[in-house]
């Protein structure tokens, strides 16, 4: 959440005379863009194809706007309803995203609106200000959710010292990169003979696991997967791979592809270690024809999957990604042990960040 300079604009005809919380609709986009352009952290909200798709194309996902008396956007909070399964039982949760205050105080009311309107919330990632609020509400924080990287890109940042920038350039230029296509040759023999992946145009119900080894997992159907990880979007490219184990479908892997990076967006399967190897097979398939190995990013908290990824050369980022779950009544108790969970990176809007594919390299708003 960002505290930015106050953003004002002329009141549109018919605007309410007092502040109000509204669901985003396409007619709000210009006011939203004006507010979101005030800070780089909210840049994704200036990109209309993303905003209109993620927040206005499915009933389950909404962007709430706090409009001031003049109709300017003073704060935003996205909420997406998602079905989970915990210890074999359904668990209704809601992901929070794009939590920003363009005027001090506005985001707090949007947070309360979320807590009063939706099932228990999840913040996966999030800014220090967001966690200031969730910690004050005694949300439960779950450790062990690690971000893994392969062929780390060491992106330069504007605030880097010359020495740090030089070190990053050296790491990018001289660092040993793993050709993803070759990873397939390193799948252990007990899995290599039976596992394969096949790219599909979209997800289907038969790809969903019939039984699960995971104590916590997102448990949505093919309709959800084909909305959230739609393979035909102009601003992000998702690729769906069916996982076959002894020629039987046993899961799926969805990859978010950009020119410089592959993100393992979402995967699920009937056996944890086999799923990790299937992820690697999908990455090898997705990178076929690459001239220069791309960076790969994924998250994992599952013991067997982490060991498998580490054996391929994936390295955990130094800082864990915060995973907090809570409601108005405090934290949601899911047990302390996350080593049996299946947590994927591209939940909430984590894989939907600028520059989007339909923007220029400068990431101009569309």
């Amino acid at each position: 959440m960002i505290q930015a300079e106050e953003t004002r604009r002329a009141a549109p005809a018919g605007a309410a005379a007092r502040p109000r919380i509204v669901e985003y609709a396409p007619e709000h986009f210009e006011a939203l863009r004006e507010a979101a352009a005030s800070t780089p952290q909210s840049a994704s909200l200036t990109h209309r194809p993303f905003v209109d798709y993620y927040y206005a194309s499915a009933e389950r996902c909404r962007l709430y706007l706090f409009l001031d008396a003049e109709g300017a956007v003073a704060g935003t909070l996205g909420v997406e309803r998602v079905g989970f399964e915990h210890e074999g039982r359904p668990l209704a949760l809601s992901f929070g995203s794009n939590f920003f205050a363009f005027r001090k105080g506005a985001a707090g009311l949007l947070f309360m609106h979320w807590m009063k309107t939706y099932p228990a919330g999840v913040v996966f990632g999030g800014s220090p200000d967001t966690h200031h609020i969730t910690r004050s509400q005694k949300w439960a924080y779950y450790g062990g959710v690690k971000t893994y990287l392969l062929n780390r890109a060491y992106q330069p940042h504007a605030g880097d010292s010359p020495l740090r920038a030089l070190a990053k350039w050296g790491a990018r230029s001289l660092g040993r990169r793993v050709a993803l296509g070759r990873l397939a040759r390193r799948v252990p023999p007990e899995f290599a003979g039976r596992l394969s992946v096949r790219e599909e145009a979209s997800a289907t119900g038969e790809m969903l696991p019939r039984r699960s080894p995971f104590s916590l997992r997102m448990a949505e159907g093919a309709d959800y997967l084909n909305w959230r990880y739609n393979t035909r979007l102009p601003f992000v490219r998702y690729r769906v791979f069916r996982v076959l184990d002894r020629n039987e479908t046993s899961g799926y892997v969805i990859i978010n592809e950009s020119p410089s990076r592959l993100i393992v967006s979402q995967c699920d399967g009937e056996q944890a270690e086999a799923l990790a190897h299937a992820v690697v097979l999908a990455l090898a398939e997705a990178s076929r024809g690459d001239r220069r190995p791309r960076e790969v990013m994924l998250t994992s908290s599952h013991d067997a999957m982490r060991r498998a990824f580490e054996a391929y050369g994936f390295r955990a980022a130094p800082q864990e990604r915060p995973f907090a779950v809570g409601s108005r009544r405090g934290g949601v108790e899911l047990g302390e042990d996350t080593s049996g969970w299946l947590v994927n990176f591209d939940w909430t809007d984590n894989g939907l960040r600028p520059p989007f594919l339909d923007q220029g390299r400068g990431g101009r708003a569309g």
Binding site: M1, R103, G108, L109, F111, K116, D129, H132
Partner: protein, 81 residues
């Protein structure tokens, strides 16, 4: 204790450095220390003090002392009916 005094106590807990006149004039955007944490705390304190559950649509009132006072007085009238 009257409604206004009880509400002043809630505001005073959120903005401890403000005097009574400042609390009566407190408003989001005008009161420097009114940030998102203050909004969250204020809603919780008002719910606790007045024994109400603020409906999602009524959160829009939590932008100034005067508006919150109007909301709380209205809620009291409704519960008295």
């Amino acid at each position: 204790m009257g409604t206004e005094t009880r509400l002043l106590n809630c505001f005073s807990a959120v903005f401890p450095d403000a005097g009574e006149d400042e609390l009566r004039r407190a408003a989001m955007g005008a009161t420097e220390s009114w940030d998102s944490m203050a909004s969250v705390t204020l809603v919780s304190l008002v719910e606790e003090e007045f024994g109400v559950q603020v409906a999602p649509d009524d959160l829009e009132h939590f932008v100034s002392f005067r508006q919150v006072l109007g909301y709380v007085e209205g809620a009291a009238e409704k519960s008295a009916l």
